[in-house]
Symmetry: C3
Subunit: 319 residues, 3 copies
């Protein structure tokens, strides 16, 4: 594997999950792979889980890790040619990115949607520039439209807990006070579709995701109906994708909060969320603390998904 930005990069999902479970049982079994290899983790946005789990995964593999925090928006890179750079952008990406590539073997990049230009966000302008100009394998630590390390961890978790071959997985929108990117729901949909589960998306009108991510999922506007018979409930807020509301909060309807009453409609479903989660907006205390909540095992699998991705990239470097 060279780069990792979406579900297609990981190849066959059964193989990937099997590898994940093997890595999970033997985290330090591949320390030679990372010897004398350096991971550069570059954060354009703040991070807790991704930072710690990815660094841990790299260290499990024997890698050296360098972390670079780029203050949100403070490090402005010029991207155009021909500009007289006498303003607030001190560096051009055509120098900055290859130079970072000089000092490491693998680059992880976090760069959220900025909601300034839907086209820029959905073309994944930033991470694609790293892929194009860094000269190194690049993986996403959440980009503008996808969060594949999260989705891979979600998949591993579902595979660990499912009791039927093809479970019913319901991703439900839930309210949140701030405008959040669509990266997590987009990515989760992409992976669930690829996994071939019985996958349903439910949200209020106006919160439709981009068609390329919805794929063959069933979209159901009635949350109660969507939840019927669910084996896994994946809650998440996102802001609107559809124009003219791109990046906006158009509802904070708390009737969408996942409560015990809602969970009672399911097939005794497990509850999932990528965290951080706002309690009693997204989900009630009793559901997230209850015996069917998988939020902590799901977070713990972030180390595993990152380790599989790094392991495959390192194996790719050996060829």
């Amino acid at each position: 594997m060279r780069n990792f930005t979406n579900v297609h990069d990981i190849g066959d999902l059964r193989t990937a999950v099997a590898e994940a479970l093997e890595v999970k049982a033997n985290r330090f079994g591949y320390k030679n792979l990372g010897e004398n290899k350096t991971l550069l983790m570059l954060f354009f946005n703040s991070s807790l889980r991704t930072r710690l789990s990815t660094q841990k995964a790299a260290m499990n593999l024997g890698m050296n890790v360098m972390v670079l925090d780029v203050n949100q928006g403070a490090w402005k890179l010029e991207t155009e040619r021909g500009v007289i750079m006498d303003g607030d952008k001190p560096e051009h990406l055509l120098e900055a990115i290859p130079v970072m590539g000089c000092y490491c073997d693998v680059i992880g990049v976090r760069s959220f949607a900025r909601f300034e230009s839907k086209a820029d966000d959905y073309e994944e302008k930033i991470i694609n520039q790293f892929i194009r100009y860094s000269g190194r394998p690049v993986f996403s630590m959440e980009a503008a439209t996808r969060h594949p390390l999260q989705s891979f961890a979600d998949l591993i978790t579902i595979e660990e807990y499912k009791t039927v071959e093809r479970p019913k997985v319901v991703m439900t929108w839930a309210p949140h006070p701030k405008a959040l990117p669509q990266a997590v729901p987009n990515s989760f949909a992409e992976w669930m579709n690829a996994a071939g589960y019985d996958f349903v998306i439910t949200h209020p009108h106006g919160y439709e995701l981009a068609p390329e991510f919805v794929g063959n999922a069933k979209v159901e506007y009635d949350q109660d109906k969507a939840l019927e018979g669910a084996d896994f409930v994946y809650a998440k807020n996102w802001s609107a994708y559809m124009d003219p509301n791109y990046g906006k909060v158009i509802s904070t309807d708390r009737s969408w909060t996942v409560t015990a009453e809602k969970m009672a409609l399911t097939n005794n479903a497990y509850f999932m969320h990528c965290l951080p989660v706002r309690r009693n907006m997204i989900v009630s205390d009793d559901v997230i603390e209850g015996p069917r909540s998988l939020v902590i095992p799901e977070a713990a699998n972030r180390e595993i998904s990152a380790q599989v991705v790094l392991k495959r990239i390192l194996e790719g470097l050996q060829k």
Copy 2:
């Protein structure tokens, strides 16, 4: 040892000091202990000495280290159940803490007294939440009421320099322009009492420490009298503990500054301070630079106290 927050966690002090001196003579002799073990250092407050010395100690033991800086107050965790989290707190501690525990083997926490609620501070609400919810051994890198890695380093230093079995140790308040926590003096008192030294505390009226920390120490309001015959003078500022002045500066009386004249009252005492120190407020230039000043050896022992604590926690993980 599972957790380390106070003097009782370290057990017999003679044994602990003996182990410290052995570690000091052979810092890299225990590198196998930390192999494949990861320390997460979490700072809710800024740090220089504690950050560097603890990281160094962990690396001496062969551990991997991850450092997480939480901007002062910027990362607000909800702590109550039932709250509709639509405000400025994006995450509940019941998710945040166990997740951090997923990615490491040992957690160090720095979280100062906030002076907002004396009860919250003295119940050590924050570090106790990490002990309760992280699933990992937790040690204090200075909490609301104690700074045990500092006190342990102080004890090691006194044991290295003392010439009588039971030296007279005097902890004296000294002036400072800002309101400082009581963690260092509380903790020092706790360790000196446990060590069984001839221990005297001196401060202006109104600066009485909590009785559980004063213990059997002699409290003397006349600084000159307190200093008579002292073998070690430990200077420190703290803000008032007693209500209604909790967390307030009620005196900046510079007659309490430790000067050569004051030191002349002692038994040619050594001078100690945990640093950082404000010169000519806490202590005069000539005393801190003089041949009896132990501030640098004392700081150097921070690496040793941290290494003993981490070593014991790692040994505990092996059982």
Copy 3:
């Protein structure tokens, strides 16, 4: 080697370049040297290339690395004796620096010219205090008047690409909107003079560098004339050194920008710049992207120059 702040510390340049090329071919061949050794990197100013390349070099040598960012100006150290420290400076350098030395084996310091006092800047007050008080070998990661790791990397690059024994190297001033230190041009001049190249400096009137750095270089105020026959063109902005304009921008004349027309005057010269570079102020897009641009190989050699310096310091510690 004990400390590294200027060209004289590295000794014979032929030997140093030969060692650099050997290290470049065998980066991980000296991992035993750094075992159980810790590098403390201390940044008073922000850094991208220096941070990553120096950390990478230290890890190549098997060292542990600790990075300490001191917010620009936020950590104010008192430097005078006798001051009653009741203001905004919480610590005296006479405590702070030796304590940092306690927890590491080697210290790298970045501290730019502050343009508050030319005497303070040109006496290298800050890095010299580290050399004097830390008790450890100290190297410059760019100080007030020199950036020797950059100049050493520049030298290695020229040696790799030169086709004649004694190439003509031209350092040209170029415009920039901000007031930049003289550290890079001073240092480059120092190293080029030491290398014995045919070295020419060109800049507008008023941008004369300090005579001790200009040395025997030819100073030519006509840029076109300077560029004639050049084998290497090294572009850089700097602010005025000469009083009363010390630290000021006195020209932003864009006729000094290095363009294809300018490069046509040379002997098909290579283009060099230390980065970050403002395009179309310092250099045109076509020149920096062209086949004779060495900016990326030059940046890559930062890892090598840092590794040679650290290797020699580590060898010095073994004696």
